[in-house]
């Protein structure tokens, strides 16, 4: 079980991996995630499902090598290796109802999980305008896939090395300034980006869905480590989410909660040979 059947480095630190997980592939719906354990003693990490192939019984994840577990997954595991555990698909799927025009925004790594969402939204009859943003041209990936899954695609880079110069929020503002139809916004990416988008659309009154990626252990509603304030309630990202109304998320609380284990994560990275080697290679 859980054999790695494909692995591709999409950009520096960004890895695409295809894993044999027939039940997950069959049940997956856009917006859901899975939990991965590299080895028996590893932590459980939540990763968004970027694609699935029920016929082949495979799911695709795209992850950033950012902490000990993701670096070890990217550096130590090759095609043919088996992961200790894969659990999913988890979380409530993204609502894909037909509303008219949906602007779907993917920032950085968020480009991967919006791919099934774009396909799904389009399949239910929406016009999908997609904005994807990267820091630089050499960090771009899946822009071709997103182009095929959208009615219109806008690419931004922070330094202007490809497409429109600026952030995804700049492209979103431009669409709005031009008076383009916008019945709903879906934004997935770094939390600062999702907050920026949500703050931008709030005065416009455009419903905005964000997908939160908080700290989790089990991913099934047991630990509550992922809890976050949504409006005047506390919700569990793993079962109530990961999609939430971006206008209701208590962003400051979420930012604080994501830093709980910063110190321990630094120590874990320092103690892992793969992580040290990875960062040395990055420096060169």
């Amino acid at each position: 079980m859980y054999r790695i059947t494909g692995k591709k480095v999409l950009a520096t630190g960004v890895v695409e991996m295809t894993i044999e997980a027939p039940r997950v592939a069959k049940a997956h719906k856009p917006g859901q995630f899975l939990m991965v354990m590299n080895r028996e003693e590893s932590e459980r990490i939540p990763l968004t499902i970027a694609d699935s192939n029920p016929e082949k019984g495979e799911v695709t994840i795209v992850f950033l090598e950012v902490g000990r577990s993701t670096i070890e997954l990217g550096e130590e595991f090759q095609v043919g290796d088996h992961l200790f555990a894969v659990l999913g698909p988890l979380g409530t799927p993204t609502h894909l109802d037909r509303v008219g025009t949906v602007v779907v925004i993917g920032g950085g790594l968020g480009v991967a999980p919006i791919y099934p969402i774009c396909k799904g939204l389009r399949a239910s009859g929406n016009r999908v305008v997609t904005i994807i943003g990267y820091r630089r041209k050499d960090l771009m990936f899946w822009d071709d896939k997103l182009r095929s899954a959208s009615d219109e695609l806008i690419v931004t880079t922070d330094d202007g090395s490809f497409g429109m110069k600026g952030f995804v929020s700049d492209a979103l503002k431009k669409l709005h300034d031009e008076g383009r139809p916008m019945d709903r916004v879906v934004a997935i990416g770094p939390p600062v980006m999702m907050r920026a988008v949500a703050e931008m659309t709030r005065p416009w009154g455009v419903p905005t869905t964000v997908s939160l990626n908080t700290i989790m252990i089990d991913g099934t509603g047991m630990c509550g480590g992922c809890r976050v304030g949504i409006g005047d309630e506390t919700k569990f990202v793993c079962v109530d989410g990961p999609d939430f109304d971006g206008h209701k998320v208590h962003w400051d609380e979420m930012f604080a909660r994501m830093k709980v284990y910063q110190k321990e994560e630094r120590e874990a990275i320092a103690s892992s040979p793969s992580c040290r080697l990875y960062f040395e290679t990055l420096k060169r």
Binding site: A27, E41, E43, L87, D218, C223, G224, T234, K259
Partner: protein, 494 residues
């Protein structure tokens, strides 16, 4: 394999001899790790009886013809007979005899609240007060002996011929394991689904190593697998596969998904960093082994810990905190010592280990620092009023009694409710309070045909032994149902 037991040397009853019970002797204490030693490790605190100790304690048992202990036991284990086996040196037989009533003797011997059940009922209390037979310790002894000295246990169990019926069980905690084992013995094909990566449910994620070694749990799981039960981990029924798909494939479904959803108080500051649900704290340490150096899962080293609540879980948390090096680990409980629901031995052990009890006190809000980490809790004193629906005196806040307790870790340990995943994915499944599954207590049938439920999923968080009983009784009900040509369905009144 079986080693020779010289029962005469152990002071027991020889073949053909009559037992002369020594009930006037004091109950034999169990050897424990010293406080200093156990605070530096996670090993089991109670070390278990030696064969000589077990026989000596068993020799105190009167083997009453009308045993009150059996009545008090939720699964009515034939206690005098198994103790009789021990006093005659038949240790494996003792364990096998318990297994006729309880599929998890090594677990229940350790975690059952015997002092409120079988041991409270022991007749020796009448003549030799506070010295009942140590039934739990003897149960543990026989089960441990069996694991250590007898192989091929599962193969030796009489199994009924295969029936061809297929039953799915959701959740591999005590209820699911117990039900699966019995169904397999009855000849049914059993597929056991577990959401986590390891089987055992609350026995793995909830109860700490120093009370219930995980190797013991895994031995019980292996035993159930050896009976022919097909275990599949990493499946959340309702997510990984639709409940309907399971219903289509199997003749019956037993939902034993436990009570794993943590209750929080909903007071200000509860989402600050350093405020945990008991489930998160325990799962990090017990299941993910955050206390070992090789584990990938971190835990923040606590310095000053406030544990809210006084049940089994709260004592586990406070004792883990002390092992993680906390300078101060405090139970904050709104009632008094008398109302504490925790197991007597755990309360004693926690006190020995340095836990502080701040009783008749309840948190009001948590106070954070500039980075969003908890730095203190504001509490309020309580006094006890009239008894409430639980029969315990109701705590009432004392106005103007608020004060601040400094802390860097808070663990909210005020109970768990069942997960809503199954009910929310099964149209027509009646529940109480949205998550506790309603069943007919005679038949364990829910309002959805083919779907049975038991354990904490139907009661809310309770004890291992009650879940084990539910699993066993449900197995009988499921067996009757699948064999019934009419497949009669007797749901609960709604």
């Amino acid at each position: 394999m079986s080693e020779t037991i010289d029962i005469a040397a152990l002071g027991g009853v020889k073949e053909g001899e009559k037992k002369r019970p020594r009930s006037k002797e004091p109950r034999l204490e169990i050897a424990c790790q010293s406080v200093e030693a156990r605070l530096k490790n996670y090993d089991e605190v109670a070390l278990g009886y030696s064969p000589a100790e077990a026989v000596a304690e068993a020799m105190r048992c009167l083997e009453c013809p009308k045993p009150r202990c059996v009545v008090a036991c939720p699964v009515h284990i034939d206690i005098p007979t198994f103790i009789g086996h021990i006093s005659r040196g038949r240790f494996v037989e003792a364990a096998e005899h318990i297994r006729k009533y309880n599929n998890l003797p090594a677990v229940c011997g350790r975690v059952c609240p015997q002092e409120n059940l079988c041991e409270a009922a022991c007749i020796i209390n009448d003549t030799n007060p506070k010295n009942p037979i140590a039934i739990g310790r003897l149960e543990r002894f026989s089960a441990d002996w069996q694991f250590a000295h007898s192989e091929r246990r599962a193969d030796s169990v009489a199994k009924a011929p295969a029936t061809g019926y297929k039953v799915a069980v959701i959740g591999s905690g005590p209820a699911g394991l117990s039900c699966s084992a019995d169904l397999a013995k009855m000849g049914h094909t059993v597929h056991l689904f577990e959401a986590l990566h390891k089987a055992g449910g609350v026995l793995m994620y909830g109860i700490p190593e120093f009370r219930l070694p995980k190797a013991i749990v895994q031995k019980e799981v292996e035993y159930v697998q050896a009976l022919g039960v097909e275990l599949e981990c990493n499946v959340v029924v309702g997510r990984t596969m639709p409940v309907q798909e399971v219903l289509d494939e199997f003749d019956a479904l037993f939902v034993a998904s436990g009570a794993g959803y943590p209750n929080m108080m909903g007071i200000p500051g509860e989402n600050l960093n350093g405020v945990y649900s008991a489930n998160e704290f325990l799962t990090r340490v017990n299941l993910m082994k955050a206390w070992t150096s090789g584990a990938g899962t971190p835990i923040r080293k606590p310095r000053k810990v406030v544990v809210v609540g006084a049940g089994f879980t709260a004592f586990d948390v406070v004792r883990i905190s002390l092992r993680l090096g906390a300078e101060e680990a405090r139970i904050v409980y709104r009632r008094s010592r008398e109302e504490m629901p925790g197991r007597g031995e755990e309360i004693e052990h926690a006190l020995e280990e340095g836990a502080i009890f701040t009783l008749l006190t309840n948190p009001v809000r948590y106070i954070g620092d500039e980075n969003g980490f908890v730095k203190a809790v504001e509490v309020q004193r309580m006094e006890l009023g009239e008894p409430d629906s639980s029969g315990r005196r109701r705590p009432i806040p004392v106005p103007g009694s608020n004060y601040i307790i400094e802390c860097d870790t808070v663990v909210v340990s005020i109970g768990q409710t069942p997960n809503v995943l199954i009910p929310s994915n099964l149209p027509g499944l009646a529940t109480r309070w949205g998550s506790v599954i309603k069943v007919n207590r005679e038949t364990y049938m829910t309002t959805v045909p083919k779907v049975f439920a038991g354990g904490d999923a139907i009661t809310g968080a309770a004890t291992v032994i009650l879940a084990t009983r539910a699993g066993r009784e449900a197995a009988r009900a499921i067996d009757a149902y699948v064999r019934d040509p009419n497949r009669g369905w007797y749901p609960p009144a709604v």
